[in-house]
């Protein structure tokens, strides 16, 4: 066991630090301005060789061990730049379930940031109970025609492609009739309706209405009926702080808050947030190291998601304790932290999963 960098890791960290030193302060890190320039940031990171670190080289990645993502996240936070774009869960979903041809066609653009993606899973009537989704994709010649209503779709307004779940077979048990597709967002038959978050941010997520949108049959990901398995892969990864790169971000906010309280005793909420953020940092290191053994990801992701949620919400409370409601950026950090216990599966659902699938309690 060694928590320190290996010589290769240290060299990588140094290179990254030098590159970041030149870019500090040039990209907005919050609010609508951040979302508006997030794609640009993604492409800059990739062009410099610092994105897609653990993904296959043939798709534009670097095939490095997953711990390099931790180094990246830590250094981004330290330099005060925007965080790593979080799309690892989409890469995993497509990579694990799509055929070689689909991967070759879509993963490079996803990873290098030239094509932007959104995840069309949730619907107004199907949130926690995702398998009850009613959007349909009906075969019509060599294409499918999509009909339905998606909601809470993050970055839908700037997306080129949507990883969509739709029902292709209404006559089989509900988990078995769902298929996944790569749908172009640039076509008639798709209407976007922005949603405003409670913080006032409008670029985070939207509603997407599909009314006769078409998707070529060869853009189905995996086999018909494999949509549910893909969804589980995606949400499983969406629950990992390591995939999301959030951990370092919390540490950064804690340090910023501490700097603001210099001279007076830090509020207890801030001290607690520091403890939570450090727990998560170490937890991510342990989880990522375990991946070196090829540990597969099952219900444990729900534990990670809960730990991440508690850390983010502790930091949110610290932001409130330090800045109150009068500092808009800190107020937004607090308000945004409330979404963490909902997105990617609510905390209640994570606890249900832990109780039934890990602890063997109930069904």
């Amino acid at each position: 066991m060694d928590f320190r960098d290996s010589p290769e890791e240290a060299a990588f960290r140094d290179r990254l630090r030098d590159w970041l030193a030149e870019r500090a302060g040039t990209f907005p890190t919050s609010g609508d301005e951040y979302w508006a320039r997030q794609g640009e940031w993604h492409r800059a990171l990739h062009a410099a060789g610092f994105f897609g670190l653990s993904w296959p080289e043939r798709y534009g990645g670097h095939e490095l061990p997953p711990v390099y993502d931790v180094i990246l996240d830590e250094e981004l936070a330290r330099a005060g730049t925007p965080p790593r774009p979080s799309l690892g869960y989409l890469v995993q979903g497509l990579g694990r379930h799509g055929g070689e041809e689909l991967c070759r066609r879509f993963l490079p653009g996803m990873i290098d940031g030239t094509e932007r993606w959104c995840q069309g899973f949730s619907e107004p009537g199907a949130g926690s109970d995702l398998a009850s989704l009613t959007t349909t994709a009906t075969r019509d010649g060599d294409a499918y025609v999509v009909q339905g209503h998606k909601i809470w779709t993050s970055y839908s307004d700037v997306a080129d492609w949507c990883l969509l779940l739709a029902r292709t077979d209404p006559d089989v048990p509900r988990h078995k009739g769902i298929s996944a597709f790569v749908v172009s967002m640039h076509q008639p038959g798709i209407e976007q309706r922005p949603l405003k978050m409670m913080s006032g941010v409008t670029k985070e997520f939207g509603q997407v209405l599909f009314d006769g949108a078409r998707v070529p049959a060869d853009q189905m990901v995996g086999a018909p009926g494999e949509g549910w398995a893909l969804a589980m892969t995606v949400v499983g990864h969406e629950r990992e702080p390591a995939t999301l790169g959030f951990s370092a971000r919390y540490g950064k906010l804690v340090r910023q808050l501490a700097a603001r309280t210099k001279g007076s005793a830090p509020p207890p909420e801030l001290a607690w947030a520091a403890v939570e953020a450090e727990m998560l940092r170490l937890h991510v290191r342990r989880r990522l190291s375990e991946q070196l053994d090829g540990v597969s990801h099952g219900p444990e992701g729900s534990l990670d998601k809960l730990l991440m949620t508690w850390a983010e919400q502790a930091v949110g409370h610290a932001a409130l304790a330090v800045g109150g409601t009068e500092d808009p950026e800190l107020l937004n950090a607090y308000l945004y932290s409330r979404a963490q216990s909902v997105m990617g599966g609510t905390s209640q659902i994570q606890k249900n999963i832990i109780a039934s699938r890990i602890l063997g309690l109930g069904d």
Binding site: S128, L195, M197, M198, G324, T325, L335, R338, V342, N352
Partner: protein, 301 residues
């Protein structure tokens, strides 16, 4: 000992509740409805409740109305004016349309022309300037114009009592807005279905709401005592009661409002859901005359 409300107090509470339910915002969209706000303003003005203290009302009665207005997210000034009225009556001033100021801004200032502050034992009046930013969507802040004018002084004991009343009023608002958020969430839990059942039928959701109700009941108890203490205990004792109430009600209200967001799921995190309007109001009432845990006398000193 009998800490129940009197029949008159219950009547006052019910009347305030009715007014808030009838004319308060029923949705986020309603916050922009100027006709509704004008009707609400007229109705509140007609009750004369902004002058409750001048009319001899106790701290308990002030708290009852503030609480119901918080529950219904009443978005015309009340807390500010009712506190300003108490200052005004004590120095025998007649400045019209007055609210209060804290720090460099007037609070609860929509349509108000003057803002009063208690600086030590001196009461100052300042003209209200243009609207200023603030997190609360139901009560506006406003800038203050430069010169403030002294309008009188209070004996130290009365100054202290006013500070207690101010704390208690914010506690009442916290309890009210928490109750409103809780009802909103309870109603959603009764109708939203996932996995073929209402979400309220899942213990995870039901227990969150059950805890919320317990927090509200605890809040009401500390609030009632603090509200009674305003006029009945020594200023030092009343201040202690108000600080306890403030800390308890603030923490309870935040938790209850966060629960309301959580129970709504994705919708709860949007601008369109009233949950954050309650949450914002609670956060602002927490910061208005804040109390820190360190200020609580645990009986050891």
């Amino acid at each position: 000992m009998d800490v129940r409300l009197t029949a008159e107090q219950r009547q006052l509470r019910d009347a305030a509740a009715r007014l808030a339910s009838d004319l308060g915002p029923g949705s986020v969209l309603d916050l922009d409805d100027r006709h509704r706000i004008a009707r609400l303003e007229k109705a509140v003005e007609a009750t004369g409740w902004r002058n409750l203290r001048s009319d001899g009302a106790s701290g308990v009665e002030v708290a009852l109305v503030v609480e119901e207005f918080g529950r219904g997210l009443v978005d015309v000034p009340f807390l500010g004016p009712v506190l300003a009225d108490d200052l005004r009556r004590q120095v025998g001033s007649t400045v019209p349309a007055a609210t209060i100021a804290v720090g460099s801004s007037a609070r609860d200032a929509h349509g108000m022309r003057h803002a009063l502050t208690l600086d030590g034992d001196r009461v100052l009046s300042t003209e209200v300037g243009p609207r200023a930013p603030g997190a609360d969507l139901t009560r506006h802040n406003a800038a203050l114009r430069d010169a403030s004018e002294p309008i009188g002084t209070l004996p130290p004991e009365l100054a202290e009592r006013w500070r207690v009343l101010a704390l208690v009023a914010t506690c009442a608002d916290l309890v009210g807005t928490a109750r409103g958020a809780h009802t909103l969430a309870r109603d959603h839990a009764k109708i939203r279905e996932q996995y073929g059942r209402t979400i309220g039928s899942y213990q995870a959701v039901a227990h969150l709401l059950a805890e919320g109700l317990a927090l509200i009941e605890g809040s009401v108890s500390v609030l009632r005592h603090a509200a009674w203490a305003v006029d009945e205990l020594t200023p030092a004792e009343a201040l202690r009661a108000a600080r306890i109430a403030k800390l308890y009600c603030a923490r309870a209200a935040r938790t209850v409002c966060e629960t309301a967001v959580q129970v709504h799921g994705g919708i709860g995190n949007t601008w369109e859901c009233l949950a954050h309007v309650h949450l914002r109001r609670a956060l602002v009432s927490t910061e208005l005359f804040p109390v820190r845990l360190e200020e609580i006398d645990c009986g050891l000193s």
